[in-house]
Symmetry: C2
Subunit: 633 residues, 2 copies
C-alpha cells in the first residue's frame, strides 16, 4: 500500500509547512486568525451563533461535559453549550481549593503520588446507556483508575498501581453494563514489576498486559478481576462492545514490530509495518476461563495466557498505527482510525465472528491469531489526514477527528443498502485529538453538538507566554452542514470527554445529611468541641459554623502529634468552610455535614493562626483561632 | 450611632431569611433561578447581551482579567468580555499540568509548602498606570509574596515567609511607581516567629506588623525593605495612594478591641466598638527614618516603632470593621467600606493632612494618634448592606460591592460642586465580595465593564455536589443603568481581580530564544544527548523534539542519584513536551527553548517507562524511553 504511505508523508509535509507558515512569524497573527475564521461563523451568522451558546445568568446548561485533564491529574466539568468550566474534580493531584489530598483519608488514597495522567473518562452504563451513577478515569502514568461518585462529584476510590502494567492508556472503556473497566499496557515492561531486563531482550522479556477491573454493581467498588498476558506491543486506545458485541472488548496496537532499540527513536522502529492490529477480546469467555482456574498468578493477579488457550483473543489488521477504535451505537461495527492513514476502516462484528468460527486466519503473530483483513473489512472512508477518533450522532452520521489535517470529517453511516460516504468537512484550530458527541458512545447518541478537543491553540487567545492552553471548539451538528460555533480553552490536557444530558444525573447531594455522617469523630455543637491530651498526642474535636472555629485555641508542645477532627456543622447549601493553619502545610475544606481529620507533628514552635479559608459570611475574617506550640525546653 | 447598628442587624436578619428561604428547599430551585433573573437580562435584551460577550473563534478578547485563586494557591487568566478561562498560572501550589513544582528550580522556590492562599493580585505601575511588566500576588496563609513575569506568564520569585508576620492579607497593594509592595499581619502573633505566648497576654505580647517589600525597578526582584510594629489589631485590606497621596499607604483594621479570648468567638469580641480604623502610613517618611537608622532589628528585619517616633502613622476612625479601603483615581480621597455598616465613608486626603498638621487628634489608641472623624470625613453614601469594596470608572462614578445585600451600588462621585449620591443598584448572585473594573485602581480607569466576584453561586449552575463553585458576573457599565450580562464560575476563590487592556502587555515570549538559554546543561542536538555516571550519581542530558526523547534508554542501579537535564529543542510556538516517569513522581513540561532539571533517587528497581505527557504530533505516542533500574544484589 505504498500510495497510502505516500499520501501520508505528502500530507504531513503540507501540514508542517502550513503550521510553520502560520505560526513562526509574528506578522502572521492576522493571517492566522483569518485562517481560523475559515471554520468560524460567517458575519451573518454571528448573532445566531452567539445566541446558541449564550446561557443567561440563572439559566442552566443542557449537557454536562466531563473532560479529562491529562497530566494535570484532574477532571473538569463543563456545561454545554456555554462551554463554561463549572468545577474541577480533583482525582490524582492534591487540590487545596477543595482540600483534596490534605485530610487523612484523601491523602491516603493518593498513596504518596502527587500527579496522574488522566485520559479517558468513562460514565457507568446500564444496557449501554449512561446511568448517571459513577464516573471512572484512568491514570496513564502510574497505572491507576479512579471512581467519582456522581451523587457528590467526589473521588471515592483510587485503585492501583495495577500489577504488571506500565502506562495505562487504553483505559477505562467500561463494558456496557459496567461489569468491568479495563487497563492495558501502553509501554510493555518485564513482569512482575520490579524485574529489570535490558531492551536488548525486549521481544522475549517484555510483556503487554490487559487488565480487567471488576466493578461492584451495588456501590461501584473496584477490585482486580483478571489479566491477559500479551505480546510486547503498545496498546493504545479501546472501546467495549455493546448489544450483539457486548461480550467483546477492542483495543488498538502500535509497535507490533515488537522492537525497542537503544538510540533509535520508536517513531521510526514502530512505523515499519503497513498494518498494526485491533485486538478483539472475548472478555466474557476469558472470565469463564478464569473461573475454571485457567490462570497463572503473577504479583497477585490471575493472568490468562491466550497463546496457551486460544479462542478468546484475536488480531484484526488495521492501517498502520491505529489510534482510536470505536464501536457503533448498534454494536455491529467497529471502526479503526489509522493515525498514519488517510482513511477510517469499518469492520463488521458479524464477519469477525464468522472468520473466527472458520479459522480464517492469515497467520499467527507471536501466538495471536490474525484474521484475514479481507474477511472482516466492510468499507474504507477517505476522511482525510490523520484520523484519530470517531463519534456518532442520532441521524446515522459519524464524525472523525483529523489530527494532521486539523479538521472534522462527517460521513454517512452505511449498511442495509445505505451508502458509506463522506458528506462534510470543517477546519479546526488546531490539531484535533479526541472528539466527543452527546452520549455519542452509548446505544442512543443524542446528536446536537460535537466537542472538538484540540491539541494546539496557537494564539487564538490572548498571549499567555510559551505555555499555551489547549483549545476546545463547539460544532453545531443539528443541520446538514457542520457549523463551528465557539471556542474555549480547557485546562491541560483534554484527551477525551463524555457528554451526558443533565437529567441523567439525579439526586445530587448539596448538603450531607447529619444522620448519614458515620464518622465517630463528628461533633455537632460548638459546646462539644474539645482538646484532649493522650501522652504525646493532642486530639482536637473542632466545629465550624458561621463565624467561628471552636476550640479557638489549641495548646500543645513542640514535637507532639496533633490530630484534628473538623466538622462543618452547617446545614445550608454552599456553606463550605476552609481550615488552613498558617505555616503548617494544611488546608481542608469540609463540606456542610462533613467531618475530616488532619494529623501532623507540631514541629514548629510559636503561635500559628488557623482560619477559615473559604469566605463564608460578613464575619468570615473573624473566623480564626490559634495553635500555640510551646517550644522544647 | 445606634440606628446604624440597628439597620445592620435588621438587614442581616432579612438577608439570612432570604438565603434560607431560597436555598434549603429543593422545590425552590425554580423560584431561586427566577430571583437570579431579577438582575438577569430581560428577554428582549438577550440577543444583544449574547453578542456583547460572544467572541467568535479566532477573535481576541479586549481585556485580560487576572483573578486570584484563593486557597487554590494559583492565579487565573480570563479574557473579557467572553469570561473564558485562558490559563492557570501556578504560583504557590505544584501544578503538574505545566510541571511547576517538579523541576529543581520551581520545587526549591516552593520551599516545601504545597499551597498558598492568594488574595490580591497587583500589576506593576508607573506613575499610577499599569505598565504591563509584572504581576504580584500575596499568600495569606504562609506570609509570602510572588512575582509573575508578564513576558512569559511564569512565577519567577517567591519571597517569604516574611519575618514577624502571620497571615498576609492586606497585600500586595503596591505603590504607584512600584517602589514597594506591602504585607501586613492579619493575625497578630508574638514576635519574632517561634515565640510562644498565651492569648491571655494577647494585648501585651502579640503584635501586628506592616512590611514593605522593596521591588528592584530593573528586574522586579523583591527584597525585605523594612517593617512597622503595630498594635495587635487585625489588618485587613489596603490601597496605596497615588498622585497627591502617592507617599501614603492605607490599610483597614478590625479587632481594634485588641482582644482574643479562649472560648469566645472573635466575631463577638471584635464587634464591640462602633468604629475601627483606617491606618494611614506615610511610607516615604518611614523609609527616611529607616535610612537614618531609626529601627530595631527583629529576626533580620529593620523594624520601625511609630509610637516611639510619631509623625508617620495615624488612625482614621471608620464605621465598624471596615473591609476595603480604596483611593480614588485622582488620589484625593480614600473610601472606607464598613462591612457592618450600611454606608461607605468618603475621607479627604487634604483634610487628613490638615488634621495631622494641626494635631487634631481625638485620642491615642495603644500609642497611635487617632484623628478626629469629623475633621477628615467628607461624605457618607447610603449604598446598602455590607459594603466591602469600591471601584471606579472613567465617568466619575464608583461601584461598591454589597455582600449582605448581594448587590452592586453605583454612586456619583462628588466634590467640586458635584453631588455625592446613589444613582443605581443591581442584584448579584450571590454575596459579592470583591469587585473589579477595567484598570479601575489606576489613575485612569477605562470604564466599560465591572466584574462581580461572588462568594456563593447556590445552584445557578448544573449541580456539582456540595463543593459549589464561586460565581463571577459581568456588568455592562457603559450606559446610565448597569446591566448584568453574563455569568461564569471561576476557580476557588476569586478574592480580587485586576483587569488590564490587552495592548498594555507587549512582547510576550512564545518561544524562548536559543541564544538566551543560559542553562549550562542545555543540549541542542539529539546527538549530544548522553548519560554519564559519576560515582553513585547518574547524570543525563536529554533532548525533546517531535517525536523522540533522547537518550531513550537510561540505565542505573537501585539507590543511585539520578539528575536529568531536559531541553525542549523545538523552535515553534505551542510545541510543549511533557516529561513524565511512570511510577516516579515526576512530570515536567519544558517550554520550547527551555531546559529543566530533575533530581531523584532511583529507589524502585525494575523498568520504568518515561514519555512525553503533552500530545505534540501524530507520532506523540511513540515519544517514549525506558529508565532501567537494576536491583541491588
Amino acid at each position: 500500500m505504498n500510495w497510502k504511505r505516500m499520501i501520508f508523508f505528502v500530507g504531513l509535509g503540507i501540514a508542517a509547512l502550513a503550521m510553520i507558515g502560520l505560526t513562526s512569524d509574528p506578522a502572521c497573527a492576522q493571517q492566522r486568525r483569518e485562517r481560523v475564521k475559515e471554520g468560524a461563523p460567517a458575519k451573518a451568522d454571528i448573532g445566531e451563533n452567539a445566541l446558541k451558546v449564550y446561557v443567561p445568568p440563572g439559566d442552566l446548561d443542557e449537557y454536562y461535559a466531563f473532560l479529562s485533564g491529562g497530566h494535570s491529574g484532574q477532571l473538569y466539568v463543563f456545561g454545554l453549550p456555554s462551554m463554561r468550566h463549572i468545577r474541577t474534580i480533583p482525582v490524582f493531584t492534591p487540590y487545596p481549593a477543595t482540600g483534596y489530598g490534605y485530610d487523612d483519608e484523601s491523602k491516603k488514597m493518593l498513596g504518596g503520588l502527587t500527579w496522574g495522567d488522566t485520559h479517558h473518562p468513562g460514565l457507568s452504563e446500564t444496557k449501554g446507556e449512561y446511568d448517571g451513577r459513577w464516573l471512572f478515569i484512568n491514570d496513564n502514568a502510574h497505572g491507576r483508575v479512579a471512581r467519582i461518585d456522581l451523587r457528590d462529584f467526589k473521588t471515592k476510590q483510587i485503585f492501583g498501581p495495577i500489577p504488571n502494567l506500565a502506562g495505562n492508556h487504553a483505559s477505562v472503556y467500561l463494558t456496557w453494563n459496567t461489569e468491568y473497566l479495563f487497563g492495558a499496557t501502553r509501554f510493555s515492561i518485564p513482569i512482575p514489576k520490579g524485574t529489570a531486563a535490558d531492551v536488548k531482550d525486549y521481544k522475549e522479556k517484555y510483556k503487554g498486559v490487559i487488565s480487567a477491573i471488576a466493578v461492584d454493581p451495588k456501590d461501584g467498588t473496584m477490585s482486580l478481576g483478571w489479566q491477559i498476558v500479551m505480546p510486547p506491543w503498545n496498546y493504545d486506545v479501546a472501546d467495549a462492545g455493546k448489544l450483539v458485541s457486548g461480550d467483546w472488548w477492542f483495543v488498538t496496537t502500535y509497535n507490533t514490530e515488537a522492537e525497542f532499540i537503544d538510540g533509535k527513536p520508536l517513531e521510526i522502529t514502530a512505523s515499519q509495518r503497513d498494518k498494526d492490529y485491533i485486538i478483539a477480546v472475548n472478555w466474557k469467555g476469558v472470565e469463564g476461563e478464569i473461573k475454571k482456574g485457567n490462570f497463572t498468578e503473577i504479583d497477585g493477579a490471575k493472568v490468562f495466557d491466550p497463546v496457551k488457550t486460544p479462542g478468546f483473543v484475536f488480531a484484526v489488521p488495521c492501517a498502520k498505527s491505529p489510534h482510536g477504535v470505536d464501536v457503533s451505537p448498534d454494536g455491529k461495527w467497529f471502526i479503526g482510525n489509522g493515525k498514519l492513514s488517510p482513511t477510517v476502516s469499518i469492520f463488521s462484528f458479524e464477519k469477525l465472528q464468522k472468520a473466527i468460527q472458520e479459522k480464517n486466519f492469515a497467520q499467527h503473530d507471536m501466538g495471536i491469531p490474525v484474521v484475514k483483513f479481507e474477511a472482516v473489512t466492510e468499507a474504507d472512508i477517505p476522511v482525510g489526514l490523520g484520523p484519530l477518533h470517531t463519534v456518532f450522532d442520532d441521524k446515522g452520521f459519524a464524525y472523525t477527528s483529523l489530527f494532521v489535517e486539523s479538521a472534522v470529517a462527517k460521513w454517512q453511516w452505511g449498511g442495509g443498502g445505505r451508502e458509506w460516504k463522506m458528506v462534510d468537512k470543517i477546519p479546526i484550530q488546531y490539531n484535533i485529538g479526541h472528539i466527543a458527541s452527546c452520549e455519542g458512545d452509548t446505544v442512543s447518541p443524542k446528536g446536537k453538538w460535537v466537542f472538538a478537543l484540540n491539541k494546539l491553540s496557537k494564539g487564538t487567545h490572548l498571549p499567555v507566554g510559551p505555555d499555551q492552553p489547549e483549545s476546545g471548539q463547539l460544532i453545531d451538528i443539528s443541520g446538514p452542514k457542520m457549523k463551528l460555533i465557539a471556542q474555549a480553552f480547557p485546562e491541560p490536557e483534554p484527551h477525551y470527554a463524555q457528554i451526558i444530558k443533565t437529567d441523567k444525573i439525579k439526586n445530587v447531594i448539596e448538603v450531607y445529611a447529619k444522620a448519614e455522617n458515620k464518622n465517630p469523630n463528628a461533633v455537632w455543637d460548638p459546646k462539644d468541641a474539645k482538646v484532649v491530651r493522650e501522652g504525646n498526642t493532642v486530639k482536637v474535636w473542632m466545629t465550624q459554623i458561621r463565624s467561628s472555629l471552636m476550640p479557638n485555641v489549641v495548646r500543645c508542645n513542640e514535637g507532639d502529634k496533633v490530630i484534628m477532627h473538623v466538622t462543618n456543622i452547617e446545614e445550608m447549601r454552599d456553606e463550605l468552610h476552609g481550615f488552613g493553619i498558617c505555616g503548617y502545610d494544611i488546608n481542608g475544606v469540609p463540606s456542610p455535614g462533613e467531618t475530616l481529620s488532619y494529623e501532623f507533628i507540631a514541629d514548629k514552635p510559636g503561635v500559628w493562626p488557623y482560619y477559615c479559608t473559604n469566605f463564608c459570611s460578613a464575619l468570615h475574617q473573624e473566623m480564626q483561632g490559634y495553635l500555640i506550640v510551646n517550644p522544647k525546653k
